[in-house]
């Protein structure tokens, strides 16, 4: 395989870079080691589009955060990704934290975030009645938003794919070597020569850099654990509620998600293993205990899931984004606000790669295939239209989130299609609801088996080794 650009890592940054590169006359491929794209930090985070008051002015974090945040509303509209400008409050419980609020406001102004104001505890409670009485002041951030992080990643990558970018999953990059005129990548199934390499490998990015550059960037895997509450019934807050940030990050947040659930987390614990996304009793309790300061009536009565994500925390505390060495481009240490920054990083790196390769823009770019809106958001008339086009819009598979068979089949056959149960879940929300796939799991498994024409025994939760069924009960067994 001969490429102009090889992107290592199918997270939101890799997808954003891929999409920008797809505008140029270039042969581009993305290599993702997992069974699906969006399997690392991009899938397990708060989904907040940060407005940019937090990052230190002058840092790459500040630069890409503010630039990315500005891109989000239009980008989500273009790609059909759920995004809500819900606003945010950063709350202070002490006089010291009140000082921090002023600092954040000033930073926000320096970074170019507009319309930040500090309000009193009572004003904050008037906006968000579930807030603790202990809150004495808050920074009001009207432009903060929330996005569905995996749907963002899928949409970016699909748009790249329909414009010619090849996406290889289950394709771990095992070696990268520099050659006279570029690079040689040895992946699980391919030998690839590439004019440029773009290192977007998340927590694995440090190893790629070491292989090529020699020097070491230390990335600390920082685990964050979350509780997710159901999207029906009582919702405590309409805005994202931050506590004052500390050296370990932005603290425990309680936020609505783009789909109307409530998310509580993350904790922050440095761990050894960058793949260790197991939740722990201590951290789940800590998330609740810390969240309780914000929301005294906190309750997991409506909890539907808990999960952990790993962010790649750079020891330098700043993103490393740029053209590191001839032909070798990087986005390393993309911890929070990485999701917000990703589209801007994509523009920056994509354009830099194209300039380096002296590539010209394509005359025609295929617009994103924004499918119908999800069945659950359709009105009566739209449902009728969808059903007349495809009667499987009349078969609701996921009863909690009202996901139809048509939508699941579409997700499976999409340009970067779903090949396992979790991949269907992240694309369609089937299994995301309060029964967590208890009812629809077997149906989704059957649909995957039919559409991919493989035995149900081979259908996995998230890739090889995570098969759901162990034995077929044949006639003769009792």
């Amino acid at each position: 395989m001969k490429l102009d650009a090889a992107i290592i890592g199918g997270g939101v940054v890799g997808a954003a870079v891929a999409r920008v590169l797809s505008r140029y006359h270039l042969s581009v491929a993305v290599f993702e080691k997992c069974d699906d794209i969006c399997m690392g930090a991009s899938k397990a985070n708060t989904g907040i589009v940060h407005s940019g008051y937090d990052a230190k002015p002058g840092t790459q974090k500040a630069l890409f955060n503010v630039a990315g945040a500005k891109m989000y509303p239009a980008l989500c509209a273009e790609l059909g990704v759920p995004y809500k400008k819900c606003g945010a409050l950063v709350i202070a419980f002490t006089k010291e934290e009140q000082v921090t609020l002023s600092l954040l406001r000033d930073r926000g102004c320096q970074n170019g975030t507009v319309r930040l104001s500090i309000i009193s505890g009572d004003e904050a409670r008037a906006l968000e009645p579930a807030l603790s009485q202990e809150v004495i002041a808050a920074l009001h951030v009207p432009k903060s938003g929330v996005v569905s992080p995996y749907e963002m990643t899928f949409a970016l990558m699909e748009h790249a794919a329909v414009n010619g970018v090849k996406v290889y999953t289950r394709e771990k990059v095992l070696r990268v070597d520099r050659q006279a005129d570029g690079f040689l990548l040895t992946t699980e199934h391919h030998c690839v020569t590439a004019g440029t390499v773009i290192n977007c490998a998340g927590i694995g990015a440090a190893a790629v850099r070491t292989a090529l550059v020699g020097d070491t960037v230390r990335l600390i895997p920082r685990k964050g654990e979350y509780h997710l509450l159901d999207n029906t019934g009582y919702k405590p807050f309409t805005r994202t509620i931050f506590q004052c940030p500390s050296v370990m990050g932005k603290g425990v947040v309680i936020t609505p998600t783009a789909h109307g659930n409530t998310l509580i987390g993350p904790t922050a614990m440095d761990v050894k293993d960058g793949e260790d996304v197991a939740t722990t009793a201590d951290a789940l309790k800590e998330a609740l205990d810390k969240g309780r300061r914000t929301w005294p009536q906190i309750s997991t009565r409506t909890a539907i899931a808990s999960f952990a994500g790993i962010r790649a925390h750079p020891v330098s505390d700043d993103f490393i984004v740029g053209h590191t060495q001839t032909g070798f481009f990087e986005a390393i240490g993309i911890e929070s606000p990485g999701l917000t920054a990703a589209p801007a990083i994509g523009e920056h790196l994509g354009k830099a790669v194209a300039a380096y390769l002296k590539a010209g823009l394509k005359e025609h770019i295929i617009t994103p295939c924004v499918c119908r809106k999800p069945f659950r958001e359709m009105n009566f008339k739209e449902r009728g239209e969808a059903w007349r086009e495809d009667p499987t819009y009349g078969t609701v598979v996921c009863r909690c989130e009202h996901v139809t068979e048509a939508e699941i089949k579409k997700a499976i056959h999409a340009p970067v299609g779903a090949g396992n149960i979790d991949a269907v879940k992240r694309r369609t929300r089937a299994g995301m609801g309060r029964c967590q796939g208890g009812f629809c799991g077997p149906r989704v498994l059957d649909i995957l088996s039919d559409e991919l024409a493989v035995s149900p025994m081979r259908i996995t939760k998230f890739g090889e080794g995570s098969e759901l069924l162990t034995k077929e009960i044949r006639g003769g067994d009792i």
């Binding site: 009793a281 967590q436 208890g438 077997p442 059957d446 025994m457 098969e467 034995k471 077929e472």
Partner: protein, 419 residues
Amino acid sequence: MTRADLLIIGAGPAGLAAAIAARQAGVKDLLVLEREEASGGILRQCIHNGFGLHRFKEELTGPEYAQRDIDLAADLGIRIQTNAMALSVTRDKVVSFVSRQEGPRQIECGAIILCTGCRERSRGAIGTPGTRCAGVFSAGTAQKFVNLHGFMPGSQVVILGSGDIGLIMARRMTLQGARVLACVEIMPYSSGLNRNIVQCLNDYDIPLYLSHTVTDIRGTSRLNGITISRVDENRRPVPGTEIDFSCDTLLLSVGLIPENELALGAGLNLSAATGGVLVDDRFETEIDGVFSAGNALHVHDLADDVSEEAARAGRAAADYLLRGGQKRQMLSVMDGRGVLGAVPQKIAVPAEEDVRVRFRVDRVYENAYVCAHAQGAVFPRRKHRILTPGEMAQAVLPKQPLSLAEGDIVISIEGEKER
């Protein structure tokens, strides 16, 4: 928009019994919506026996029990639309649903009976820590794989929770050649029926760990092990009591939650104790002409009880349609000492007939009395050798003293000797 006098949502045991009773009481224009491809509800996958002992004085399997009602409904010409998913119910009784055959539809109803069943509590709801590997299933999902799809979801199994489905699946998985290593229950008593403990665990030498819970789930792809720990009286794991199991499957049978998203959408309130809507002795909700029955109202142990209650709801809906709604004076039914989630929450006086109040007790009681108190009325009390949270209890309030009652009726457990 079309119209129906009575719309019943769900063709499980509750919906079927309600439909049959309503038809027999004279409702002609009646439609039942069922989201699955066939009627019968959860009974379709409950291929074990033990159903119908009370109602038919016979021991039937789940599908056999359901088939009796399905056949009767067919004989009565009741229309059941399968593959039809109700999407919303409004306060003025307009129901939106969708089906593959007809697409989206709206139907204006004279009365509605919500028989939407329940769902299983998931791992996320109980917050069990560990990895999110494959091999963790709710017991009902595993039951569906085994009994309806013909696939085993695992070979070395631990079961968390001693709810009835978990116990049944312990036996079922064993019979299919899996090894069930343990059943783990966080409470000091089982939450399932005693007969299931005996017939599904004891008969197969499957150990039951009471006052234990799962404290870790391991495996990056497929489950490869779990840890259980003993819990203290506050249900907190005690360090140092960990036991590891190598297994590829963890089945969860940790409680059932009534499914009331349609009811919530219609603006109905849910009882914190039952998770169901609030009903009176005719199973009518806070919205006139909207009724609730079955496990959507409160989770039962026995399909027989579901059928009995739902038939009452069906007759009441028929009465509402044929005679119109009547303003009745209502007394509240309150949970007293030891009682959780008494249903119905309101009883009309003067009473037309004896009223059965069903509830659960908050712990195990021995030689205790189920009592009802209300100003102006004296209710008979009934002694029970044993009352456990795993078995639904009841108090029958006779019509006569009920008609004399004034103010709240309080159900309580008294004179017990705590075990």
